[in-house]
């Protein structure tokens, strides 16, 4: 049966997609701008005989997620910024334990309490993490309500396939805005977790899941194995959007909702004859360095645009280091006021003049 498009708020879309993906257990603590996810699931999950627990804190919620994930079921929590900060302890354990689960992080402005405005200020929190030790939080960033649905599916699939925590990194704008989207069937195969999950040691040896390891060699090897997994994820599960990058002189890099606004500005620029393209990583972590490096070799400059003080910028610069010697410009600001298409276009125009017209002259463009 073909599903109809519905007018959906981002947070409800994520919650419904989680249900559709077969999420068996949800744990969460309220925080704006993502509270609708927990509200929706508090009714829906018990109706389906699935688990919903209003946790006493995010510290507890992430530990409940660890417990649920250790049994092999699909499990999820959702939160935002200053509360995701509280989950870093658990995320490090979950990553070290190789437990599959999904974290939805709907960014608000910070630091501290900041406010509930849309923000991209937690790119570093998601991709570099505050948890201890060597691990990566696999992170996907949607830019529309439909992608909130599709990437929620992807997060569950990747988490289950690779036994790793996966983060859906949205923001307050995506969480709160409404637009048409389809909650389709979960498109991925179900991954059998029975070879490792804790289900009771009936007719088999007992299993234990622990990040602690006394043997130096084994401890080291285990982390190496986890990092090999990240390489496989980048190879097999990478998603990105390239728009008009062929023949472009200047490429805009942006992620999430800002990338969507930037795309409209790039269209405007193309209309006005500026050879501008857009690269939007959707898988943010592990970061698609090779693709950025390839693009960098063909253009005269990169303009990175983010609703923060320059976070993905570090990954962009690291990607092209030693590969291309082009200028990497940045336009961004701390969260609070969303960017407009005209505003971004103006920046594109300025940087284009500065980099491209300076190099070729206006006549050659």
């Amino acid at each position: 049966m073909k599903k109809e498009k519905e007018l959906l708020k981002g947070n409800y879309a994520i919650a419904q997609a989680a249900v559709q993906a077969g999420c068996q257990s949800y744990f969460g603590y309220p925080i704006t701008p993502q509270s609708e996810i927990g509200e929706y699931l508090s009714t829906k999950m018990p109706e389906l005989n699935r688990a919903f627990v209003a946790a006493e804190s995010e510290v507890a919620a992430i530990s409940m997620l660890l417990g649920a994930g250790s049994t092999g079921v699909k499990a999820m929590t959702s939160s935002s910024s200053c509360a995701v900060a509280l989950m870093q302890e658990g995320l490090s354990f979950i990553a070290g334990d190789e437990i599959p689960c999904v974290l939805v992080s709907v960014m608000r402005a910070g630091p501290g309490l900041g406010y509930i405005y849309p923000s991209q200020g937690d790119y570093l929190q998601a991709t570099k993490g505050g948890g201890n030790g060597d691990y990566k939080l696999v992170t996907y960033a949607p830019n529309s309500v439909q992608e909130c649905v599709d990437l929620t599916y992807k997060c569950f699939y990747v988490s289950q396939k690779y036994r790793t925590p996966v983060c859906l990194l949205a923001d307050g704008m995506l969480g709160q805005m409404m637009e048409p989207a389809v909650i389709g069937e979960y498109p991925y195969e179900e991954i059998d977790q029975s070879s490792w999950a804790l289900t009771g040691a009936k007719d088999r040896e007992p299993r234990h899941i622990a990040s602690i390891e006394r043997d130096q060699e084994t401890l080291s090897k285990r982390v190496v194995k986890i990092f090999e997994k990240y390489s496989r994820i980048l190879e097999n599960e990478n998603i990105f959007e390239k728009y008009e990058t062929e023949g472009a002189k200047l490429v805009i890099t942006a992620f999430g909702s800002i990338a969507r606004i930037a795309k409209a500005a790039v269209k405007m620029a193309r209309k006005n004859g500026l050879k501008v393209g857009l690269f939007r990583p959707i898988l943010l972590n592990p970061f698609p360095e090779k693709i950025v490096a390839e693009i960098a070799q063909k253009v005269d400059g990169i303009l990175d645009i983010e609703l923060n003080c320059g976070q993905m910028l570090h990954d962009i610069k690291a990607s092209i280091a030693g590969v291309a010697t082009i200028p990497v410009k940045f336009y961004g600001r701390p969260a609070g006021v969303m960017m407009t298409v005209e505003e971004i276009y103006k920046q594109i125009e300025n940087v284009y003049k500065e980099i491209v017209e300076k190099k070729y002259g206006t006549a050659c463009i």
Binding site: A60, S63, G67, S70, A75, G200, A201, H208, A210
Partner: protein, 250 residues
């Protein structure tokens, strides 16, 4: 005449390794839990949670599925497991620092929600694994590495009475405090541990047993002196007994 054979419970691994210090009561407590799980016939259906502290290597000796929790988070992890797999027997084995200091919120709230899980708490009035620092249950006057002149209430408050608190929590179905300082008390402790599991199995709510245990290494006492301390000043402050029993009422 019945022949009594002392043998290793099935819930203890054949190749078990014990990392506890000589004279420590952990070994007895672990064995009692294992015997209870054997007698209830639930070993193959049990998922245990190893907490941070001396119990962190639980999978070295327990012969069933075990997952590790971050420090203090055992009962949150237990909640996640039990809610996802309601037919499993889920229990935590924690120290007093883990359960009543860093994990007090997780403890109180799991119990308040009436999670059908069991928590066994070893109260030895100190942080054993890290070398004997003062914890939430350290007695007034007790010398530790962080109360070198003895715990002073004006400086670091009072010992926390876990069983008394959890008795008042509506979601608990069984709360008891026991000691392991004589064969009689050990038998009693086993009975209480069994009840704490029955609270879960009967779906009555959370079961909790606080075990007053020795830590000769950090107390700098012999095992005999340590048990005298449990019988004496520890039992005076932390009164052993059954604080709540909905299992027998049910």
């Amino acid at each position: 005449m019945e022949r009594l054979v002392y043998k290793k419970p099935e819930s203890i691994r054949d190749d078990f390794k014990i990392t506890f210090c000589p004279g420590c009561d952990h070994g007895v407590a672990v064995r009692l839990v294992a015997e209870v799980l054997d007698e209830l016939g639930v070993r193959e259906n049990t998922i245990g949670i190893a907490s941070v502290g001396c119990s962190v290597f639980s999978y070295d000796f327990f012969n069933f599925d075990i997952v590790e929790a971050a420090h203090g988070r055992s009962l949150a992890v237990a909640t996640g497991i039990k809610r996802s797999m309601p037919d499993k027997v889920v229990f935590t084995y924690q120290g007093d620092g883990d359960l009543a200091s860093i994990g007090l919120a997780e403890t109180i709230h799991a119990m308040t929600r009436g999670e059908k899980v069991t928590a066994i708490c070893i109260n030895n009035t100190t942080y054993g694994m890290t070398g004997g620092q003062a914890g939430p249950t350290t007695l007034i006057g007790q010398v530790t590495t962080t109360t070198t002149k003895g715990r002073k209430p004006e400086l670091s408050g009072f010992p926390l009475k876990i069983s008394e608190i959890l008795k008042e929590v509506d979601g608990t179905a069984y709360v008891a405090r026991v000691t392991l300082d004589s064969p009689k008390e050990i038998m009693n402790a086993k009975k209480c541990i069994k009840k704490a599991f029955e609270a879960q199995l009967k779906g009555l709510g959370a079961g909790f047993v606080e075990i007053l245990a020795t830590c000769p290494t950090n107390w700098k006492m012999t095992p005999q002196e340590s048990h005298e301390r449990v019988r004496g000043e520890m039992s005076e402050v932390f009164k052993p007994g059954v604080y709540k029993d909905k299992v027998s009422e049910a």
